[in-house]
Symmetry: C2
Subunit: 368 residues, 2 copies
């Protein structure tokens, strides 16, 4: 039996192979006599799971050796406080506001430092990206924060800003929660990247933080030890008991990513090509229709989160009910935006996107 | 095939029924077409899982209605900061130090308020409990912190202190991580209880916080929103994406607990009786032997964590190797204490304790 296609924005669908393996190993991991949930985090079995997950993510994403990879807890919203607690030095930080997530980030950071919104796309209703040349960066900022994919508004940076070229020496902090591992990252432009796992990497409850080593060791006195990047880095993410099962599932997902191939491409390059194709097909179907509309500028449309509207919004409930009947789940848009949203993360196969497009066209034709 | 018996101090063994059900539901929860990891935390499916978990814990543990039950992240070590961030009001807090965990708690709290160790069992090597009458409680303390079961030292409070009787109006904060749900709690004596799930409730990555409503709303400005009890309570633990799968497994464990029976007893009362019997048998076997020793005062020995030593410590490695051969796993003591430790949480059946005692006696006799 085919599983339904689940377009949830997160927690989101996981590769079936990952879930199958997790189910098979639930009571006994590799002959250890223990399920992964039952292992001491300090035992050799879990240590091997952890080390493989770290190494697999590092190789997949080509993370340089001068960056630490941390597995933390609390998700992106906790990081909104944890980043300034660790990086702001109580001074100042600049934010580029491009949607709900970066706006939440700048509001939370105000507890810890002087915050400036250096650029915003608010006047466009978060459907564009402010050109880097217009950003009002401050020379003294401790860091510059960008959300590189706005899950709710469907706006994505297709290239990371080059802060040096903009005259800033501040480290760039990226919230890549909702497109991590969907495309390569140019680490030469990044100081710190964080992301909750529940969109593209695994289950909710583990947060990936990739941080350049020179940024460690400057936490504010009020920073809880469990969220002090230096303490977490020095203890290999085991200062407190890590979310072991979530790390295990993320590790299985990293292995799945490594196995992916598209023609000559493998791993993240293969994923990127597949994600490009999936997004292109869906946006084309929307743009070619008189019935559906996506309001985001073409050059910054997200490959992961595709918000769209029925021009006749009185049809919304019928659209969702029909989708569910066809096994197309969780398409309702975020309450702050309305309409529909199709999240098409790594684990969404092309067949899911095609099924959605077929359904959208049929729904439109039926009403024509 | 029988599974080995896993005596890990945490993450620890889970009921086999819980793991079986989780494996069976991994790809499709109740016909929804989604695994639990893949569900939006705001969808009706996960909301029902969450609400049932909350209600089941409340009924199991008889939590009064004026307490909120929160599902958070970060474990006990994060709570060591989160509690003073929320309750100290930047003033003062008193700590009863009875082992490693309460000692870590008081050290972390010093970041946020004036901390006093009001009593300690350090002079006994953490093998006793300081009599409540000797506690030097301060009238102005914002709260009094007690770790009611010290996982490493194997010391347990068999009754909660009555702070009012000691002349204090401060709320009692208990860290019940390693014996939560193993026995009832007298909530009339408690202001806040916290515990990581990974010992008695489920997987690592979810922290249970039970907090009296009148203690909400006094967080320090530096408290991250994701760890502000009032914000978490007001959003039903969904300010940030909760650790959904860990909550689901905890919920299955609560249901398993509700099904437990011992004679006329059910639920927590049944568990308590079983835990008493298990612990009694194991301590008797140790005390009756000339070969093994437990150094904790009899009146405060933990029912959950039983540290013991071979009088001839040169036999330690042979003891552990033989145990593993017999399917008795993770018996090595914590590095700070040495020797052995058998953690016999709720999910450890009597048969596991009996198998351990049999092995201990055989090992002793072979050397006699």
């Amino acid at each position: 039996m085919t599983r339904p296609f689940n377009f949830s924005a997160g927690p989101a669908n996981l590769p079936e192979e990952v879930l199958q393996q997790a189910a098979a190993e639930m009571l006994d991991w590799h002959g250890s006599g223990m399920g992964v949930m039952e292992m001491s985090h300090r035992g050799k079995e879990f240590i091997s799971i952890y080390e493989n997950a770290e190494a697999d993510f590092r190789s997949l994403m080509a993370v340089p050796n001068n960056f630490k990879i941390l597995f933390m807890q609390g998700g992106g919203l906790a990081e909104n406080a944890i980043v300034p607690l660790n990086l702001s030095r109580g001074a100042s930080a600049d934010f580029i506001v491009t949607g709900s997530w970066s706006d939440k980030s700048q509001k939370e950071a105000r507890k810890y430092c002087d915050v400036q919104v250096a650029a915003t796309n608010e006047s466009s209703g978060h459907t564009s990206l402010p050109a880097a040349a217009t950003w009002q960066l401050r020379r003294e900022a401790s860091y510059v924060h960008v959300c590189t994919n706005e899950t709710i508004h469907g706006v994505e940076f297709h290239a990371l800003p080059d802060l040096k070229a903009l005259g800033s020496d501040a480290p760039l902090v990226i919230d890549f929660s909702s497109h991590v591992a969907s495309r390569p990252v140019d680490w030469s432009r990044v100081g710190l990247a964080f992301g909750g796992a529940q969109k593209n990497l695994g289950p909710a409850g583990v947060t990936l933080v990739v941080v350049r080593e020179d940024l460690l060791g400057h936490a504010l006195p009020a920073c809880p030890s469990a969220f002090n990047y230096k303490i977490v880095a020095d203890s290999e993410s085991m200062y407190n008991t890590p979310p072991t099962y979530a790390i295990y599932i993320a590790g299985l997902t990293f292995q799945w990513l490594k196995r992916q191939k598209e023609g000559e491409l493998a791993g993240i390059a293969a994923m990127e090509q597949r994600n490009q194709t999936k997004a292109q097909r869906l946006y084309e179907a929307i743009d070619q229709s008189q019935f559906y509309v996506n309001k985001v500028d073409k050059e910054c449309r997200s490959r992961m989160n595709v918000p769209f509207f029925l021009r006749d919004e009185s049809r919304n409930e019928a659209f969702l009910a029909g989708a569910k009947m066809r096994g197309l789940l969780q398409l309702k848009g975020h309450k702050s935006v309305g309409g529909m949203r199709a999240s098409i993360y790594n684990a969404m196969p092309m067949a899911g996107v095609e099924a959605l497009i077929d359904y959208m066209q049929e729904f439109e034709q039926k009403l024509a």
